[in-house]
Structure formats: structure tokens, C-alpha cells
């Protein structure tokens, strides 16, 4: 087993664990952290493959990916906080949309 394949297998394992967390976790925050875990696996893949190729494009792509993950996690956390603060608001808006 080469070092690259070891890293790729590790990333695949982390991605699978994150997917399992999304499907089975009860809390919203737990699911959000599982998404974060899956994104980490993708970044590991990008960096390992980029370094194996011998250029730094993988690092740059991982940098962009880390930034995008941060934005998505921040927005998800903001949504969770808003829903926890006023749980009836989202429900009421959904019901008013469904009404003719």
C-alpha cells in the first residue's frame, strides 16, 4: 500500500463516517458537524492528490474549499440559532405558504 492510497482510504473512511453521522444523528448541530467532517475528507483528498501530482493546485483548491465550508457552516449555525430562538416562526411561515 502506497502512502497516497493510505491517505485516500483514510479520506474515504472519514467521508463515510460523516455520511453515517448525517443519516443517524438526532440533533441539528450534530448533522452540521458531520457535514464539516465530510468536507474535511474532501480537503484531505485534494491536498494528497495535489502533492502527488507535484504541484500546489490541490492546496489552492483546498483553500477555496475550506473557505466555502466555513461560509456554509456559519450560515447553517445561524439558521440553527434562529430556529432554536423562535421555533414557531419557521413552522408558521411554512403553514402560511401552504394555505391558499
Amino acid at each position: 500500500m502506497t502512502i497516497l492510497s493510505a491517505w485516500l482510504m483514510c479520506a474515504a473512511l472519514i467521508f463515510s463516517i460523516g455520511l453515517y453521522g448525517i443519516l443517524t444523528h438526532g440533533s441539528r448541530l450534530g448533522r452540521l458537524l458531520s457535514v464539516e467532517l465530510m468536507a474535511n475528507a474532501v480537503h484531505l483528498n485534494l491536498v494528497a492528490l495535489g502533492q502527488h501530482r507535484g504541484d500546489e493546485t490541490g492546496q489552492v483548491m483546498a483553500f477555496v474549499g475550506i473557505g466555502l465550508t466555513l461560509v456554509s457552516i456559519s450560515l447553517g449555525l445561524a439558521l440553527i440559532m434562529a430556529i432554536d430562538r423562535d421555533p414557531h416562526a419557521a413552522q408558521t411561515e411554512t403553514q402560511s405558504e401552504q394555505m391558499p
Binding site: 497516497l4 493510505a6 467532517l37 480537503h43 484531505l44 494528497a48 502533492q51 500546489e56 492546496q59 457552516i73
Partner: protein, 166 residues
């Protein structure tokens, strides 16, 4: 190879514990373990830039997560004295980032090549090439990322602001 397997084991165990933990503060702690192990994995791949960015970005994320959780297990006396968990995490991650960059700057010619690295060159040369790539070929991606982060900041502020009663 032993180092790679050790880091991979820590990453997998941390991920499993993160998914299995019921309390949000505990899950955030395991996420910190995963992020730090990932930064070490990046360093072992001679990707100093990615490791530094990983540490910096996740320091902010940890602080955000721990501040957003009112049910953290922080003792009240620590909260009042200013030494709460999020401050310690943030300071530790910032110190770790500067440590990584300082090591790469001081030992610019001494750091060994990564086993994966095809071209001959040190980790600091990799850092230099990454900066060059980022500000020449991938300038467009950098601009788009900056715009998306700006939109994300405004969006998070709009979502979390308290609406005034009519």
C-alpha cells in the same frame, strides 16, 4: 508510513467519536481533535499553507461553535474570569498557526521533502509556489471566494438579528 497510519488512526477515531457523541460541546471537542490531526496530516504532506489555513479557519469556527452553545460545560467561575473554553481554544489555535509558520520560516532550507512530493524542494518553497499560484492563475477563485464570504457574513447577520416587534 508509520506516521501516516498513526495520523490516519487519530483522524478516524476522532471522526467516530464526533459522530457518536451526544452532547454538542463534546462533539465540538472531537471536531477540534479532527481538525488538528488534519493540520498535522497536511504538514506531513508538505502542505504548510493548507495546514496554516486549516488551523486559522477552524480556530474561528471553534470559537463560533462554542459561543453559540449556551449549554457548554464551562464552569461559571471560568466564564467570569475571561478564561472560557472558546477563548482558550482560539488562542491555542492562533499560537499553533504561528508556530507552524515560524518553523517553516526558521528552517526554510532544513525541512525535509515529503515522501509524496514529486518535485525536489522544501516545504517553504511549496509555500512560495502556492502563494504564486494563488495570486496569478487562481486570482479569479480568490475573488469569488471573497465575494461568497462577504455574502455569507451578511446572510448570517440577517438571519440571526433580533426582529423588532410590530
Amino acid at each position: 508510513m508509520v506516521t501516516v497510519l498513526l495520523i490516519a488512526c487519530i483522524l478516524c477515531i476522532g471522526s467516530l467519536q464526533l459522530v457518536r457523541s451526544k452532547r454538542p460541546s463534546q462533539a465540538t471537542g472531537w471536531l477540534l481533535v479532527v481538525c488538528l490531526s488534519l493540520a498535522v496530516a497536511f504538514i506531513s504532506l508538505a502542505a504548510i499553507f493548507a495546514a496554516g489555513i486549516q488551523l486559522l479557519v477552524f480556530a474561528g469556527l471553534m470559537a463560533l461553535l462554542l459561543r453559540a452553545m449556551p449549554q457548554t460545560s464551562t464552569p461559571p467561575e471560568m466564564e467570569t474570569s475571561g478564561f472560557n473554553v472558546s477563548n482558550i481554544t482560539f488562542a491555542g489555535s492562533i499560537a499553533g498557526t504561528f508556530f507552524v509558520f515560524a518553523i517553516s520560516a526558521i528552517h526554510s532550507g532544513d525541512l525535509p521533502d515529503s515522501e509524496l512530493f514529486v518535485h525536489h524542494g522544501t516545504a517553504s518553497q511549496s509555500l512560495e509556489r502556492t502563494g504564486h499560484l494563488l495570486f496569478t492563475w487562481h486570482m479569479g477563485s480568490l475573488h469569488i471566494l471573497a465575494f461568497v464570504i462577504l455574502v455569507g457574513i451578511i446572510g448570517a447577520w440577517v438571519i440571526t438579528r433580533r426582529r423588532s416587534l410590530p
